[in-house]
Amino acid sequence: MRYFLLLLRQSRILILFLALEGIALYWVVSVQSYPRAKFSSKSTELSGQLSEWQSNLESYLNLRLENEHLAQENANLREQLNQSLLIQNYGADTINDSILNQRYSFLSAEVVRSSHLKRDNFIIIDKGSRSGLKRNMGVIGPQGVVGVVAGVSSNFARVIPIINNSLTISGALAEEAYFGPVKWPGLNYRHTELTDIPRYSKVDSGAVVLTDGRSRYFPAGVKIGSVLKRELQADQNFFKLKLELATDFANLRQVYVVKDIFAAELDSLQNPVQP
């Protein structure tokens, strides 16, 4: 026993080292990876509070660019209004508006903290469970897709952006409807990759990549990016497309959280409860 105590005393530095590394490792595992996310809402709340004042200051400095983006988005939306559409069908049919049910609702939020230079980037926004946010809701910005909500505290939410190694979403070509997984290869926050596009597709640089119905968290037709170059994958049957992201993560302030009103219904189909 005495010997044991002596041993304990001699190796107390090693034990302390192992204990501290254990704590750090637990911290890493518990927060970092998206699928395993056991979200620590306290640290988000704290880091959100600390960043808010900084973000307030920066939002003044970026006001002009932000305005430009919003104005551009307004213009895009205006194009979709009924007033700017020409009705070419006179008289013959009745127009029954009730077939259009609201499926998505949008909630605007502001980015209070974000990173874009790391391998596992994340964003914190200033809306949380009080505003009805839940995990797995999509987040889009004025320019295109941003990411998916990974965890919420009462006033803030943590978003895993598409420039994070652990998030894969589905993207489709606007022209040809071929689709594949979009996954960030790392390093450059302006670029990402879309894989598994069949070789016989006529896609070339400049083609636009959008979300489609398979993207699950997002409405169809939100821009992901545009093709920079294509190359054959190792299996020689599919293209790997290098995309330039629509969203500039270095300059992102205003985002919209997408609430899918039919999410529960879709989930019940995807994971049916066995009778």
């Binding site: 107390r12 530095i13 302390l16 080292f17 501290l20 590394e21 704590i23 750090a24 490792l25 637990y26 911290w27 890493v28 595992v29 518990s30 927060v31 970092q32 990876s33 620590s40 640290s43 988000t44 704290l46 880091s47 600390l50 900084q54 903290r113 990173s115 230079l117 790391k118 391998r119 596992d120 994340f122 914190i124 190694n165 790392g186 390093l187 450059n188 926050y189």
Partner: protein, 165 residues
């Protein structure tokens, strides 16, 4: 009094790291992580037990500011623990009298060699914690090497400036 001063310096260093160095970027994705220098210059004066605790606090504080969840804490504790062995590796030279040579008592070439390996090890621990694994090993080594070179350049400038005085 000295303890208060040291803690203030550490807090300042973390704030500079979080709000200045993290905003710097080099070739689009390299950051210098200079706050570790505190471990070699300040923490070395304290007993081993407190070195580890303070290294954890240092890294943990930066983690909270950056929202990076534990990676800095882990890496800082690691380098604080490995420091004496590294110093042993770079060897005491004739002027050294301490058991664990402090930076000031090492000759310049040994000091720089020590600093570079220390930065390299710290960055390696940091990046492998960040990506949580060693997959993509070549990329990991590349990023570690360039980042530590980048951090080291800053420290080199500081050391040379000090040496001239």
């Amino acid at each position: 009094m000295r303890l208060v001063r040291d803690i203030l310096i550490m807090i300042l260093m973390v704030l500079i790291q979080a709000y200045f160095f993290d905003e710097l970027l080099f070739f689009r994705y390299l950051n210098p992580y200079l706050y570790v220098y505190v471990v070699f210059s300040i923490l070395i004066r304290y007993p081993r037990f407190w070195q580890l605790i303070m290294a954890f606090a240092l890294g943990g504080f930066l983690d909270i500011l950056e929202g990076s969840s534990g990676i800095h804490a882990g890496a800082a504790v690691f380098i604080a623990f490995a420091q004496p062995m590294l110093k042993g590796f770079w060897g005491p030279n004739r002027e050294d009298t301490d058991d664990v040579p402090s930076l000031a008592s090492m000759s310049m070439d040994r000091r720089l060699g020590f600093l570079f390996t220390a930065f390299f090890l710290h960055h390696f621990a940091l990046f492998s914690l960040e990506q949580f694994g060693f997959g993509n090993f070549v990329d990991l080594l590349k990023q570690t090497f360039y980042s530590s070179l980048f951090s080291f350049t800053f420290v080199l400038l500081y050391q040379l400036w000090n040496a001239r005085r």
